[in-house]
């Protein structure tokens, strides 16, 4: 594991504001997240990922797995509970492309081989890390 972000006794957690990712294209955004996770960092996204982001995250993660240092990611988030009715008349009339729209829900992503468990319940997501 490349521990440039972590010392022997700690692990880095980055909380990323929505505005930080908003200016990035999908490829850049996913690359940014995977690079952080590969270096051992746990990433907490204020705003979640869109379905298309999720698809790319899975594909890029699979391409990066090397079995030595990186075995993939653990990810937890809450499903987007915004219903179509909540999206307003304009959104419905224009049939906003949901596949490109990030959910508004907190998302936690970490390196699978560093996460003992990553669990969510109704109100919180809990990460337990390997010592």
């Amino acid at each position: 594991m490349n521990d440039k972000n972590n010392n022997k006794n700690g692990i880095r957690i980055d909380l990323m504001r929505e505005s930080q990712l908003a200016g990035m294209g999908r490829t850049e955004k996913i690359r940014h997240i995977i690079d952080k996770v590969k270096s051992g960092c746990i990433v907490v996204l204020e705003s979640g990922l869109s379905p298309d982001d999720h698809a790319m995250l899975i594909e890029k993660t699979m391409a990066e797995i090397d079995q030595e240092d990186f075995t993939g990611v653990d990810i937890e988030s809450y499903p987007d509970d915004t219903t179509k009715e909540d999206r307003g008349l304009l959104g419905r009339v224009l049939n906003r492309n949901e596949s490109k729209t990030p959910s508004k829900n907190l998302t936690v992503i970490g390196p699978a081989n560093r996460m003992e468990t990553l669990h969510k319940d109704e109100n919180q997501i809990s990460a337990i890390l390997n010592p």
Binding site: I58, T71, D80
Partner: protein
């Protein structure tokens, strides 16, 4: 008569046929070990007489998407012809140590891991580019809120793909198909034992209804 046939063929080639549309490609998706290959084999066996691929208890048994073309399913006067695509189980991590713990030696485990990662990426490409509808399989003995379910169903819904959601392994005592139905109320969830063939009649009814024209 020949003239009529020629005109029909000409129009057919121009407009894609008189109602003879291409079979829809229906992908069977879900996490590893949810029973996708068991279901694919049962459907193919029931309607074509042949199975599609191997099944096994070790996760990532299917590491390449497998397709059976022109499977015609009939139920209550409804009929649909589909191409069935059995896809590798999708996960966000693959660790060769999991295979070694199941008795595989290191080289075999590493090869299987590499194939599994390629298979997952391939399954996602199929979903993005080549799939018209999805049969989504969940293991009814497990937590339906596992992230891969949320992610994949989110992708499927956002692309407005028709989906049949199945709660598999109801032959096991700890299975709870209602938990899946409660977790994803936007879908109709059907209980199923792909292994025993329980409830297949309802599954075929739903497939014919959901993926038929």
């Amino acid at each position: 008569m020949k003239l009529i046939q020629n005109v029909r063929d000409k129009f057919s080639s121009l407009f894609g046929g008189f109602g003879d549309s291409e079979p829809k490609r229906i992908g069977i998706y879900g996490p590893p070990n949810s029973g996708k290959s068991t279901l694919a084999n049962r459907i193919c066996k029931d309607w074509t007489g042949e199975t599609l691929g191997t099944e096994g208890p070790v996760p990532h048994e299917t590491r390449r998407a497998k397709k059976r073309e022109n499977v015609t399913i009939k139920h209550d006067g409804k009929e649909v012809t589909i191409d069935i695509v059995d896809t590798p189980g999708v996960s966000t991590e693959v660790d060769d140590k999991d295979f070694q713990e199941r008795g595989m030696d290191e080289d075999v485990a590493k090869r299987r891991s590499r194939e599994a990662t390629e298979g997952i990426a391939e399954a996602m490409q199929w979903l993005r580019e080549d799939i018209d509808g999805v049969i989504y399989m969940m293991d009814a003995t497990k937590d339906p809120f596992m992230q891969v379910n949320t992610m994949l169903l989110g992708i499927i819904e956002s692309h407005n793909m028709p989906a049949v959601v199945l709660a598999n392994k109801i032959d096991l005592e700890e299975a709870d198909s209602q938990r899946i139905a409660d977790a994803f109320p936007q879908h109709t969830t059907l209980p199923l034992s792909a292994k025993e063939g329980d409830n297949m009649d309802d599954i075929y009814k739903q497939i014919a209804s959901k993926f038929g024209d």
